[in-house]
Symmetry: C3
Subunit: 463 residues, 3 copies
Amino acid sequence: MLLHADRLFPVDPDVRGIARALYASVRTLPIVSPHGHTQAGWFARNEFFPNPAMLFVQPDHYVYRMLYSQGVSMDALEIGQPEIRNPRAVWRLFAQHYHLFRGTPTRMWLDYAFQELFGLEERLSERNADLYYDRIAELLQTEAFRPRALYERFGIEVLATTDSPLDSLADHAAIRASGWAGRILPTFRPDPVVDPEFDGFTARIRELGEQTGEDTQHWRGYLAALRKARERFRALGCTATDHGHPTAQTADLDESQAAALFAEVIDGSANAAQQEIFRAQMLTEMAKMSLDDGLVMQIHPGSVRNHNRQVYARFGRDTGADIPHPTNYVDALRPLLDRVGNEPGLTIILFTLDESAYSRELAPLAGHYPSLRLGPPWWFHDSPEGMLRFREQVTETAGFYNTVGFNDDTRAFLSIPARHDVARRMDCSFLARLVAEHRLEMDEAFELARELTCGLVRQAYRL
Amino acid sequence: MLLHADRLFPVDPDVRGIARALYASVRTLPIVSPHGHTQAGWFARNEFFPNPAMLFVQPDHYVYRMLYSQGVSMDALEIGQPEIRNPRAVWRLFAQHYHLFRGTPTRMWLDYAFQELFGLEERLSERNADLYYDRIAELLQTEAFRPRALYERFGIEVLATTDSPLDSLADHAAIRASGWAGRILPTFRPDPVVDPEFDGFTARIRELGEQTGEDTQHWRGYLAALRKARERFRALGCTATDHGHPTAQTADLDESQAAALFAEVIDGSANAAQQEIFRAQMLTEMAKMSLDDGLVMQIHPGSVRNHNRQVYARFGRDTGADIPHPTNYVDALRPLLDRVGNEPGLTIILFTLDESAYSRELAPLAGHYPSLRLGPPWWFHDSPEGMLRFREQVTETAGFYNTVGFNDDTRAFLSIPARHDVARRMDCSFLARLVAEHRLEMDEAFELARELTCGLVRQAYRL
Amino acid sequence: MLLHADRLFPVDPDVRGIARALYASVRTLPIVSPHGHTQAGWFARNEFFPNPAMLFVQPDHYVYRMLYSQGVSMDALEIGQPEIRNPRAVWRLFAQHYHLFRGTPTRMWLDYAFQELFGLEERLSERNADLYYDRIAELLQTEAFRPRALYERFGIEVLATTDSPLDSLADHAAIRASGWAGRILPTFRPDPVVDPEFDGFTARIRELGEQTGEDTQHWRGYLAALRKARERFRALGCTATDHGHPTAQTADLDESQAAALFAEVIDGSANAAQQEIFRAQMLTEMAKMSLDDGLVMQIHPGSVRNHNRQVYARFGRDTGADIPHPTNYVDALRPLLDRVGNEPGLTIILFTLDESAYSRELAPLAGHYPSLRLGPPWWFHDSPEGMLRFREQVTETAGFYNTVGFNDDTRAFLSIPARHDVARRMDCSFLARLVAEHRLEMDEAFELARELTCGLVRQAYRL
């Protein structure tokens, strides 16, 4: 067996017993997935997934970044190709290097899918690569492995995608029109039209104008266009926005300053510092719009995108070469918080890739401002140790109720149940220790386990 | 029962057994409280505490910041009012939200007081709010709950308050004159007269001049006035100063530079950078005075005070809206250390709200400079997990003997025994693990447990 | 007994059992020591070590920094003297303060040497100081305690020293010529000739020119001289370079810019910022040379050297007063990585004294770039807790295979077996927990234990 029933639970028999009991009470609760990067098209078209390499290797930068770091070429893995010409060769390369994932969450997520979905119970290796390939390839062509069937089998209650304001949302509309009961919601991610450094920024602004019938060459028209785009998303069930800025910097310019800055951004004369102020201002604008339309705001700052110039030039964005950097919140968020931080009707969910901010800035901020909540450990920290560090460093100052449950944040659809399972196990492990150390009573731990699994996420994301 | 005898001890039976034994050896040792924010007036006047809300909710920003973060209004809690008009309503609101404190040290401190002082053994909730209120209100009007009686019941050996150089210290004098055996000492906290950003700074400087008969409009007179004020504090038993600067920056200007800077600070023409240099210079001046008069110096840097502009405007300082920021020590302290860092007769106790500095800067500094010691985990980190992180990240480089025992640092008098109890339990837990891992022998752990509880604090604070 | 067979293993009986089994499989494997500060002269001359104080106290800044921090004067310890006049008095002073090392790795390393090498089994104290002194002094004059005999007894497979490019390497040559089978390799540490802030920098550049017959007053000649010096090191078995810069900053200037900068550096007109850029450029130059000659590159940034001005003035470099500061990698390394980061033939090993960079920057970088590997926890973090933090914060993102085994990094020859023993115990403890939590299978843990002990270090350092 690849998976042990007690995996991830603390070793001490008493604590493990408590963790088991807590986990048993939440194991089969529905999956609420308010933030991720699956594709609405999968559910709109409901086609078979093509082959194991396209499913497990090619789209998952967690996987191929590790292979690349140990000298496996991205060409040999056919990264960035629309189709994989030799999926079996890619799969063998992956299998041959499977030992690299020892000790990583990726290994755990993959083993979960291999065993739970494909019935594979022997560890993947060069030796059994073909056996794995054949079994997975075969099952992928069965009805039970179509996206909608998997959605249902996974027990998903709601699944949010992440979408550009320019996206037609045709797939989302098609899902709604199809009569299928699955709940797939778009998320409004305006980075491509609020970040001047985004490729093709000005063309996108023009496109936004055409889509909305607003004059996006001027500040007011631009804001009006964004409002309309948000409205279009809301009509298809969207409850949240998402903002992936390099920093958490916010600003609160007056209207004439903002309009002048926008003019410089639009005509391309804004320098890097001005572009940063523009992004900063747009976070505050988005917060103000959220106050009006009720969309929950997610801020994901602190990643230096496309750090590897050569990989970016050859393979493009989101290819495993984003690296975190130190991230300040306490000064950066102040302009926005001065403006709307005390609004109890507003919800802003903060994420970080800089764990030193957990106890220093994020927990103190969320433990005070009514508008702030803390998102779960993100990306590199979406891992057993990362989750424990989050709870250990955040809970004593911000409590449990200023957190918002789990995000799977994944492009790898098949990893969703595995990721939620890890989160549930780790939350129950943390709670179990508190109970065993007599810092929490058992009835409270049961209640919290449910809150951390479903309650807080439904509430924070207004689902 | 709200409290379990083994609370906070590690779960493993062997380690827990060791922790229990160590804790038993220090549990009843006297409380030495060298740093905190209780009021000398309580002990001078020895009046009854008015009601449960005034005692537990209104003065304790740990409590109401959490309530506020979850949408409870500070008006409804009557924060910042001289009297509470409807204490029972405030109490009910608090009780109704008591679940928010799950997993926080505040919960542990409160439960300790509820059970140990008021005999309450059922968890506080909306349901039993009135029962709690009535029991506490009743007992508060009994002799055993007067401040002096509680001081004695708590087994306090010495209790330091924190005071402005402008404070008359009349309460401290009255306590001394009363013949009561309790030992309440003032601490010299000169922020109001050394930080130009402090409200009413220049008026205070003038007041300092009047009090001391020195010309505080000029640098030499200003320093002379501070020396006199320190002397006045020392006469009432003061052994330490305390400095709550935004950063740990120090400077070592020559006298003419310092005098010129002071002139600009006094006439209000100093900009923010100059004000920072002035504060920096004043840390070095205070260190030099400490060399002369023997007062121990505490530096508490790294808090952005009054972060929430609206809350500050309505409710004033110290209302739960101070947020830590990244804090540098290695460069910041260098001017001061170049001047006096090698003086074995000087003791400077460093605190931090930036835990990333523990292993990176603070332990290496304290593990080398004879004048430096590390204060216990402070404020948001005065918690079980925070205490473990402190010991785990500091001990291997600085050892135990460069630390100074525990500070309760509290405004909530009734939380003092609870806080010291948590510190003793966590220190014993840490020592127990070292013993169980054969990194320390049992006789050493017993000796260290006493040192961490009483010995090091008496020595460092010269009590 | 000073040492318990189960020391450092986790306390839970199941985990401890697994850790024991893993450790038993690696305990007697050879010591591979690719980075340290022992002296080749010891092995070239193979003389007796003079006395206990010269061996354990005087050269070891881990030891005397702690004593100094608690008021023991460096004069009384005869630090910085070529000979110790009163070694017994120094030893007694050390013994008298031995309790200061409780909870530190230094204590563990010393106890290991005392028991395993000198058969001492009672804890060192003021009381038995002379007994210790006499036993150690006596044994040091026996054949079994000559450097080469100890090298063999320790089971060392290879031991690297750290050397200036100006070093004649005569001792290394003498060792080779002697026919002794021990493998002592030099490491190319060019700081004295690439860091303009190094004492006597320009004189050293001239000396480099004389040694190599190149015109080191100009950029091309300077580079050619460095290439020749590297070649001279390689001829004596050197496989690695080492770079101890204040920051990790790199640069990639074009040749004319670099030549112009070098001219300013050489004529002493470069300011601090230019000196920093020069060091930054030299890291990239060194990386390019490594691509050509195959030397592995180690970068040890982030220490503020000689922080204590008075101690530096009296006692010189490396006297316990280097203090870490916050260290950025993500931006700092980009110029170098843009140039050579994707070369699978290049190996750059990154170290840090800023643990907040482990999960935030270092693991993400090493988990992507083919050229990057992570060095073990360094200096203040070469400790049981430090090692656990390293594995816990690095493994989930970078895996095990982007790390390179252990460095003892020591000046204290007798601490080498103790330090490797601690590392093996801690790695096995970490692996044991993963096995007990069902995150790794037992066969994998055995394989990893060997890799972490010998395999990865041999491979990374090309030994």
